[in-house]
């Protein structure tokens, strides 16, 4: 298994960060893996981490009474999973379940929040990257709202 800083240096999400900054971030990170079918986090639980998926696929789900677990979206290699660590109340809004075996880098939320408070420049770098991801996901979600494949008569 390669060292965390080396893996982070290659991640698209951290593109453009200086090596020192990556070291700083790596200080809050550790490599993790999940077997297929494992619940990574549950809705309502304390959001302690966010994950950078290196390999595998994760389903974001929510439980709907009488429908069971409804898959909202899948997250794949290179994607970031979880942003509830950014702002209070630091609680997950959805369930995350490993669809396949998953290898990821987990970032301790409290640790990172501390480092960002001490170093606003780091905070800006992280938050702007998350903002980009959020904007992208929002656009894609809006595209799904349009139901472009639906019948013309339904609109």
């Amino acid at each position: 298994m390669r060292a965390v800083p080396e893996l982070l240096g290659e991640a698209r999400f951290f593109d453009g960060l200086r090596p020192e900054t990556i070291e700083l971030v790596a200080g809050c990170a550790s490599n993790v893996h999940f077997d297929a079918g494992t619940t990574i986090f549950r809705e309502g639980e304390h959001a302690d981490f966010f994950y950078l998926l290196r390999h595998g696929s994760v389903a974001l789900e929510t439980y709907v009474p009488s429908r069971g677990a409804v898959m909202i979206e899948t997250i794949e290699d290179g994607d970031v999973l979880g942003w509830s660590w950014l702002f209070p109340p630091y609680r997950w809004h959805f369930d995350a379940r490993a669809l396949t075996a998953v290898r990821a880098t987990a970032f301790d939320g409290e640790c990172l929040r501390g480092k960002c408070a001490a170093d606003p420049a780091l905070g800006y770098e992280l938050v702007s990257r998350f903002a980009q991801t959020l904007i992208q996901r929002l656009q894609w979600t809006r595209l799904r709202l349009l139901d472009v494949y639906g019948h013309a008569g339904e609109h």
Binding site: H151, A152, G153, H155
Partner: protein
């Protein structure tokens, strides 16, 4: 006396009867202008007496009236609501018939006998219009066989224009008022002095027909009088269009505020497209009888102003009146160049006269040009 194609001759007004009879004798269905329902329309001409003798038209935006002339001119008007497309591209045409045959169907190849057409009284703008429709329906990869059949062998007796309407702008669009090509016979009506017609043959069969009519040799003053009348007509155009760069002008002004302004007036009634001699849009409809055993494919005139014209996936691409007016004007004067290598307009002015609210295309174009680049 022997005539060559380029020679001219002079006819007396009464000789037009012989012209009509001669065409009939040669098996043509003769079509020409006549006064009916307060307008000069095109229909079957049984004799030269049917012509609108001594009538003229007075046209303004949204206004068309016929008025009596003080002379007995046969062609003393400009153009009416009809154009020759009503015979070349009929408003309703059965394309084929079919009937159910077991699991399948059989299409009936109909062989119908029909007389070739002879058009009497074709204006310069109308010759241009026919040429434009030729390019659309005959000039592409696929040829419209029905149009080709009607067009092939259609005899054209054209007439110089000496009485343009206020709505005319053929000089700007390059198709009149005189006849220069596309005719079998061209007539110039001369009222100056003795009422007579200068006739010019434009084809072999035109020359052959002229030879069969009672004529006398044309003198220099006949030719001069005819030319003078055409020149005077050209000088009386009250409307103009700067036509040279319309394709680019319109292409870069698709969001001009003028479109919204004209949309406030336009009823999207489609009159302009019905009277326009070059508009060619049609609907293809499949209709069946009550038993569902016999069906027909029918081609009928359609207008781009109809909301359903651009129907796609549960809605129309062009829903607003603004977009439909823009489609018509930009197609006629702009994208027609891209599609068919010429302008779609011949300056006949029909759309101006027959628009119920009097929208004037020359004014619309000028307004866009004046604030070229404005965005609404």
């Amino acid at each position: 006396m022997p005539l060559t194609e380029s020679e001219t001759a002079v006819l007396e007004p009464d000789a037009l009867e012989a012209l009509v009879s001669a065409l009939r004798a040669r098996g043509y269905r003769v079509l020409g202008p006549m006064l009916r329902d307060g307008a000069i329309v095109y229909d079957d001409l049984s004799s030269a007496a049917d012509l609108p003798i001594g009538w003229t038209d007075v046209q303004q935006p949204g206004r068309y009236r016929v008025e009596r002339r003080e002379d007995a001119a046969r062609f003393g008007y400009a153009v009416g609501p009809h154009s020759w497309k009503r015979f070349l591209l009929p408003a309703r045409l059965r394309v084929w018939r079919a009937r159910r045959d077991g699991d399948g169907f059989e299409i009936d190849g109909e062989e119908a006998e029909s007389a070739p057409l002879a058009f009497v009284g074709v204006r310069g703008c109308e010759i241009s219009a026919i040429a434009i429709q030729d390019r659309v329906l005959l000039g592409g990869r696929h040829v419209d066989a029905d149009y080709a059949a009607r067009r092939d062998g259609a005899f054209v007796v054209a007439v110089d224009c000496f009485e343009p309407a206020d709505t005319c702008f053929c000089v700007s669009m390059g198709g009149g008022p005189g006849i220069t090509a596309g005719h079998d016979l061209a007539l110039s009506e001369i009222l100056d002095g003795e009422h007579r017609f200068l006739a010019r043959a434009g084809s072999q069969r035109g020359a052959e027909l002229l030879r069969a009519l009672p004529t006398r040799r044309a003198a220099t003053d006949d030719v001069a009088a005819a030319a003078a009348a055409v020149e005077a007509a050209a000088g009386r155009m009250t409307r103009t269009v700067e036509a040279g760069d319309l394709r680019d002008l319109l292409a870069r002004n698709l969001e001009h505020p003028r479109w919204e302004q004209v949309a406030q007036r336009c009823l999207t009634c489609g009159n302009c497209t019905m009277v326009c001699p070059t508009c060619f849009c049609t609907n293809v409809e499949d209709v069946s009888d009550l038993t569902g055993m016999e069906v027909e494919r029918v081609r009928i005139w359609e207008s781009c102003f109809a909301v359903d014209h651009s129907f796609l996936h549960g809605g129309s691409v062009r829903q607003s009146g603004r977009s439909r007016y823009r489609q018509w004007l930009t197609h006629k004067f702009g994208t027609w160049h891209d599609q068919f290598d010429s302008s779609g307009c011949v300056g006949c002015g029909r759309c101006i006269a027959w628009c119920p609210v009097g929208i004037d295309v020359t004014e619309e174009l000028a307004a866009i040009r004046e604030s070229d680049g404005a965005r609404g």
